[in-house]
Symmetry: D3
Subunit: 115 residues, 6 copies
């Protein structure tokens, strides 16, 4: 049976490895920044994950949404918190965000099924 979470993570990991092996300094540093930016700071990790999620949603990047949904779940955010964040994204970004809301709901279900 297919597992969308596993497939997403495996493809992502495989391609990230290839990109990083390619040794482009700018890209490597951007990847590195991406890890650092979501560490605890003046804002806690949960808030930062929600910020990453909303940024991804209004910019309509499905893979980025999936990534932040998974991280959100890992740091203990609840479904209703995540959905409230996505509701703000849909209001600010408009109804064109709705298709991404559909795939976000589907991926969240897969994350819950994976536990």
């Amino acid at each position: 049976m297919s597992n969308p979470v596993k497939e997403f993570n495996e493809y992502r990991a495989k391609m990230n490895d290839k990109i990083l092996a390619d040794n482009n300094k700018i890209i490597k540093r951007i990847f590195n920044l991406d890890t650092n930016a979501f560490q605890e700071g003046a804002l806690d990790i949960k808030t930062k994950e929600l910020l990453g999620l909303v940024a991804s949603a209004v910019l309509r990047c499905d893979d980025c949404i999936k990534y932040h949904l998974e991280s959100s779940k890992k740091v203990g955010l609840k479904k209703e918190e995540v959905m409230e964040a996505l509701s703000i994204a849909t209001l600010v970004g408009g109804t064109i965000v709705i298709p991404h809301l559909r795939s976000a709901f589907e991926f969240w279900e897969a994350l819950e099924a994976n536990n």
Copy 2:
């Protein structure tokens, strides 16, 4: 044999049901507004569908394009009217709209085949 129109509508309906069942007030109202905005008013329904289609096309939202193509067909818009609207979208939005034009043409064919 696969039917892209049916598949699109079934997935859309299934996920919309789940999203609405989740009971987030902001999202429910946005869904509600989406229905109201395309009702007859100062502008007729055909014009409004074309406006929704062009907005979807320049924002490059394939699912939104499909949705408005189907509604456009239902309210009696002809292929050449729809294509003229899409030509304006391609000019205003640039050649990055062209891949969406390809999938729009394909979906329109599927809509015609479904009749």
Copy 3:
């Protein structure tokens, strides 16, 4: 007293002349297409202006909005038709369209004052 419509048109005309005098073939042809695309065809001129307006609004291009507001007024579109088109743009494009709605209202007032 300042006249926003006149100022907009004068700057636009002055810079367009310079751009066209520069003789870049691609740019000249795009300018040319822009004139042709809004001519009567399968769709009438009023509908096409509204399509151009909505595309400009969801892409949040103030100058493009102003241009299509002026053309919309010239071809006889009424305020409530224009506002209904802009309401669809705001729904599809989200609340980030609202600042452009404000400047669109202001420019429409200037267009009416200019009559």
Copy 4:
């Protein structure tokens, strides 16, 4: 002496009044939703303001950024929390967000000067 905060708010209030007086139902409801979406819910008000700020920043809407900076200050967010949110926006949205970062810093200073 000019006061950017006062000017921004006065223009915003004046034009919002005109837009709402125009009585377009869709637009009125979107304005209404915009107020509701940032009320306390599963997420607290501070988190929601930061979500609105980041959405505005990655979508590069200066007026939306200003609005959420002012609300952020009102609900008690500190400069370093706001800046950390904006740093995530700059990373996710890229260096094209930097000009908006500049005007955000300038507006934050004006907000502090206004106290």
Copy 5:
């Protein structure tokens, strides 16, 4: 065995033929301009392909990226040149470009395998 390059080109060619057969003048001229714009001029063909690639990447259009990757390879651009261009796109456009970077790497591999 599946060949992503062949599949991409066949679908693209098939749909382009249908679009052009539809005889919409604006769309036909935009397709025509797209061919002309990448011919040698003040800038050489390699530079132009990289410009098309970066524009496609920051606008996050996977099909446009694939098209320019294939053309880039045909005109003799090396992998490290292409990746350096994509690193600028990722910096300017932000981390939301990263998923497109992954599919770009994958398609480049397919192009190399096709030789």
Copy 6:
């Protein structure tokens, strides 16, 4: 007499200093990357400046366009090379890029007048 190049650079420098003084690590590193990305590498400096310019143009960031126009001039790019790059941006990004083309032409004139 006003000097748009000087004003742009002074405001930019003043605000960049304030942002960097604020000591947010993520933002500081992004600023740093921005300097590194446009150094000579597999691609020469001229090509990279044109890539930065086209990315800025299709993403419709006037300040970013101005910055890359000035750098383009400094590294010896000629007007016709710059305009050819901008013509590709206008084709790929659509007619909504045209207002930015107007301000780009105006700023280029100011750069030439400053010599």
